[in-house]
């Protein structure tokens, strides 16, 4: 009996693993390896110069990946259709975390945003990262609920979905974390569109997003820090030492890599720490300088494969809930990738979002890998 059980568990594990979309797994694994090297390259020489452990960030990053990997694997174990039952709990936890982070004394403020909850022992979580999952799963549930396979969501369904999303989005706006709001908004519009909702909703929401962003800046909902970043995007030379400096340095760093790059650990701009936040939000500059066009192109190729495979999975499934979850995760990761890389080259305004699977940061890494787990889960159950 015991033997049988063990055997079956191992079997199940193998079956699960083999059942994964291999290309998807491989592309993410490649991104994780690249990210590990880049985090190490971004922090090694600086920590060495300070007489600190040069592998300080490397070690933490690897631990984050291991925990995230376990979470991703865990996510694939239970049929995602059963997960639907837990959706209200996931959503509730997300909202709870977002409320706690706003309470003075519990949330800590960095760069003018209250985005973190600190625990004793130097462990912190960023609820907004995990809230992305809650929102995506929550909206998917509403839009996929109790409907014939061939029916499109009604206006009422769309309004319900928007209401579900509105609460956490409002809480994130209060931090304020504009970058995350933009990403979540993109995911919401994409999911509503994919659910088959009337075109007027899709167009209307897109217009609303543009106008909303404009009003947010005008009304002062966005902090001065955010406005300064937006202004420096329009004219980087306006304030070269503060925010425009970041953009200027970031572009110079990427550009100086050329086609083949300066070699890993050998980027003088990286080692000189010209670009701030280089192991987190600006990690793509390390790839640009040290690995050149070939290296950063490889990263883009991996992302491309990741999204292409995910779209394939979303297309193949017949289950609307699974499809919406897939599309939501893709929209989130793709838009975040675009926002992050675009920002380092001055294509989009600067917002503090990490590069998925690459940047240092536990909460973001966990959320990304859980997202991956969700897609694999859908793939596993599509026969």
């Amino acid at each position: 009996m015991t033997i049988y059980n063990q055997h079956s568990r191992r079997d199940k594990f193998r079956e699960n693993f083999v059942g994964f979309d291999r290309l998807l797994t491989l592309s993410v694994a490649a991104l994780l390896v690249m990210g590990t090297l880049l985090v190490y390259a971004a922090t090694k020489s600086w920590f060495e110069a300070q007489g600190l452990d040069p592998q300080y960030y490397l070690k933490r990053h690897v631990i984050n990946i291991l925990i995230g990997g376990l979470l991703a694997y865990g996510t694939t174990l239970i049929d995602y259709r059963l997960l639907r039952a837990y959706t209200p709990i996931v959503w509730g936890l997300a909202v709870f975390g977002l409320v706690v982070v706003l309470i003075p004394g519990l949330g800590s403020e960095i760069n003018g945003a209250k985005a973190w909850i600190s625990f004793p022992g130097g462990f912190q979580i960023q609820p907004a990262e995990l809230a992305k999952i809650g929102i995506i799963v929550g909206i998917s549930m509403i839009l996929a609920e109790k409907r014939d396979i061939d029916a499109n969501p009604t206006d009422q369904d769309v309004l319900k979905a928007l209401a579900i999303a509105a609460i956490p989005v409002a809480l994130i706006l209060l931090q304020p974390d504009l970058g995350t709001v933009v990403i979540i908004s993109a995911a919401i519009v994409v999911m509503i569109g994919t659910s088959g909702a009337p075109t007027r909703w899709v167009v209307g929401l897109l217009l609303l997003a543009v106008m909303g962003g404009f009003t947010a800046v005008k009304m002062g909902v966005v902090s001065e820090y955010q406005i300064a970043r937006l202004q420096s995007f329009v004219d980087p030379s306006a304030d070269p030492q503060a925010t425009g400096y970041q953009l200027r340095q970031s572009r110079i760093t990427i550009g100086s890599g050329g086609i083949t790059g300066k070699g890993l650990f050998n980027g003088p701009q990286t080692n000189g720490r010209f670009v701030p936040e280089q192991h987190t939000d600006f990690i793509f500059t390390v790839a640009g300088e040290e690995l050149g066009f070939l290296g950063s192109g490889f990263i883009l190729l991996c992302f491309g494969l990741l999204f292409y495979r995910s779209f394939t999975i979303a297309r193949r499934t017949n289950d609307l809930f699974g499809r919406l979850v897939c599309v939501g995760v893709i929209a989130w990761l793709a838009f975040q990738t675009f926002e992050n890389i675009g920002m380092t080259m001055g294509m989009v305004p600067m917002t503090g979002v990490p590069l998925p699977f690459i940047s240092y940061g536990g909460s973001s890494m966990f959320a990304n890998l859980i997202g991956l787990g969700l897609i694999q889960n859908v793939h596993l159950r599509t026969r």
């Binding site: 990427i254 883009l300 779209f311 599309v327």
Partner: protein
């Protein structure tokens, strides 16, 4: 349209939109990294490379035996970039005990937008190391905290430099001088030999990171060339004795200033040159700037009786007189309508030329001067270096004052004969006696024995310029005559040194005071050499404006004796073995055979 086809169409649209965005990113990446890479790289390098000065250490100044009198010791300037200090208060709190600066003062230094602000100038390297360690420990702790990277204290740099140390303090400060804030010699040897001592600054380039030198990136472009070291002719020990003696006499006589020069008459080397009052070169100069002067070459005075030596030497050389020539010397006489007199009343005497010199008679000297005539006396004054820079290359050296013979009046000849009416520096006066000690050959005085370049090659100073002024025989005669001065019957028995034959001359001159353009006070001096038959050293003592006793013999003689005795002993000069066959001072003492006139 069915739900399924609608959804698939929308997914396809989404796919296209996603890859369009990625296409944009790839295009931009290609543009930045491939198309415009060259231009961007160049900008990166410009941003990265910084050039900084590698300060060259200044040369060492040593005494003749290599004892360091001035040296440059490594030091650092501690500098901050204020824009990198996020929390001036916290930074001040942590750095205050290391920098020994009060917190509020540091907060002010750390606050602002300056990329370069000197916090501590010329700090000991140990302070910089302590600061680095302190900050490193703090940063190590803070990195364990959330967002530790942003809480680190950064923005401190060091600049390598040097501080000038004067290990012997005030010992030879008027001679050596000091350097100013910019590291440029401001007085003394530091100033006159500044270009040799300075060396050539080098240059290094480094890659500049966020507020610090990227480790291992500093490269020296041009090596700093250390300054040339100067070896002086000065002997520290003799200098010490001279400084001590002159300081004491200034104190005891309440003199305005005083100076001692010790010279080797054969080489012109200045063995010691001390002045009082003086200054401490290692401390900032405050108060009256007078103290940083070097009175031995910068202050001029009328020599008085020491000038009588020139008149006597000239008369011997021109064969107008001999040591035994007899003169009728009244207490006073009128020349060109002016009355001249001796310093003490006496009945009319019959003195030999030696007696005239030994008793320092003005009237006797006037008579000898009249034998010479103005043009001849003027020629000898010039030959002995009066009115002309000695060429010692000490900064601010004065030439003294000697009006040309064409503008002399009727009283000029008698006045100039006994050493008034023209002025000299102590260095010039010393040189006159050195000429007599050196068998009539005048030699340019020097304080530099040689130089040692950065590679350690010693280059001795070239032989000094020489000029014969009187014959060797006449120089010998004068030396014998000057020995009488130190005799019991002379004006300076205090200058005698047991065992050694000493020759010299006192001077007690009326002092011209520039403040009132009148004569007030005295210049008391004694200049002499020993051993008189084979001179090894000339020592001159000049005391300006002493209060109370002002006789050159009484004030200058003991200083001379003290310094000369030490110099002779430290040079291991054996005591004299010969005895002076003294010339008669008075006609009555002359033997029949010696009467010449």
């Amino acid at each position: 349209m069915s739900h399924n086809s609608l959804v698939h169409r929308r997914i396809r649209t989404l796919l296209i939109a996603t890859f369009t965005l990625f296409g944009l990113i790839v295009a931009q990446l290609f543009s930045v990294q491939v198309v415009r890479a060259g231009a961007i790289s160049e900008r990166a390098i410009n941003e990265l490379l910084k050039t900084s000065t590698l300060i060259a250490p200044r040369g060492v100044i040593t005494d003749v035996n290599g004892v360091e009198l001035a040296r440059s010791v490594a030091a650092v300037n501690i500098v901050v970039d204020q824009t990198q200090i996020d929390n001036p208060k916290l930074t001040a709190k942590i750095t205050s005990p290391i920098l020994n600066i009060e917190e509020p003062e540091l907060v002010a230094l750390y606050t602002g937008n300056l990329k370069y602000k000197i916090i501590v100038k010329s700090a000991k390297p140990a302070m910089w190391i302590a600061l680095q360690n302190g900050l490193m420990n703090y940063n190590k702790d803070v990195l364990q905290q959330r967002n530790g990277l942003a809480k680190r204290i950064i923005g401190f740099y060091s600049e390598r430099g040097y501080v000038r140390e004067y290990p012997t303090g005030m010992l030879a400060s008027s001679l050596i001088g000091f350097i100013n804030d910019e590291g440029v010699g401001a007085s003394g040897i530091e100033s006159s030999l500044n270009s040799e001592l300075s060396g050539v600054n080098g240059q290094y380039v480094y890659e500049n990171g966020a507020g610090t030198i990227i480790p291992g990136s500093a490269k020296i472009r041009t090596e700093a060339k250390a300054g040339t070291s100067i070896r002086l002719t000065v002997d520290r020990d003799i200098q010490w004795v001279a400084q001590d003696a002159i300081s004491r006499v200034v104190k005891s006589s309440s003199a305005k200033s005083a100076t001692v020069v010790v010279m080797d008459p054969k080489t012109g080397a200045i063995i010691a040159q001390a002045s009082a009052p003086t200054f401490d070169p290692s401390k900032p100069i405050t108060g009256k700037l007078d103290t940083i002067r070097n009175p031995a070459v910068q202050d001029v005075y009328e020599p008085g009786s020491t000038g009588k030596v020139i008149t006597m030497a000239a008369a011997l050389e021109e064969k107008k007189t001999t040591p035994n020539s007899v003169y009728t010397v009244p207490y006073s006489m009128r020349v060109a309508g002016s009355k001249f007199s001796d310093h003490e009343f006496h009945k009319t005497q019959r003195l030999t030329a030696t007696g005239v010199l030994a008793t320092s008679s003005n009237i006797g000297t006037i008579k000898i001067g009249q034998q010479l005539g103005s043009t001849t006396l003027y020629k000898y004054l010039r030959d002995f270096g009066i009115g002309e820079n000695t060429g010692s290359h000490l900064p601010g050296e004065s030439s003294g004052l000697l009006s040309p013979v064409t503008s002399w009046s009727g009283t000029s000849l008698p006045t100039f004969s006994f050493g008034q009416g023209y002025s000299v520096t102590a260095m010039q006066a010393t040189s006159v006696f050195a000429t007599i000690a050196n068998d009539g050959i005048r030699i340019t005085p020097t304080v530099v024995a040689g130089t040692t370049d950065a590679s350690g090659n010693f280059l001795p100073t070239k032989d000094q310029k020489t000029k014969r002024v009187i014959s060797s025989e006449n120089a010998k005669e004068i030396r014998k005559m000057l020995e009488s001065v130190v005799s019991v019957n002379g004006t300076a028995p205090t200058a005698a040194i047991p065992g050694y034959r000493v020759a010299g001359k006192t001077g007690t001159a009326m002092r011209f005071n520039a403040d009132c353009s009148c004569y007030s006070g005295y210049t008391a001096s004694f200049i002499g050499f020993a051993p008189a038959d084979k001179p090894a050293f000339v020592v001159s003592v000049t005391i300006q404006d002493p209060k109370g006793i002002h006789w050159g013999g009484a004030l200058g003689g003991p200083v001379f004796a003290k310094v000369m005795k030490f110099a002779l002993q430290s040079a291991h000069i054996p005591p004299s073995t010969t005895k002076l066959k003294a010339y008669a001072l008075k006609e009555a003492d002359l033997k029949k055979s010696e009467v010449t006139k």
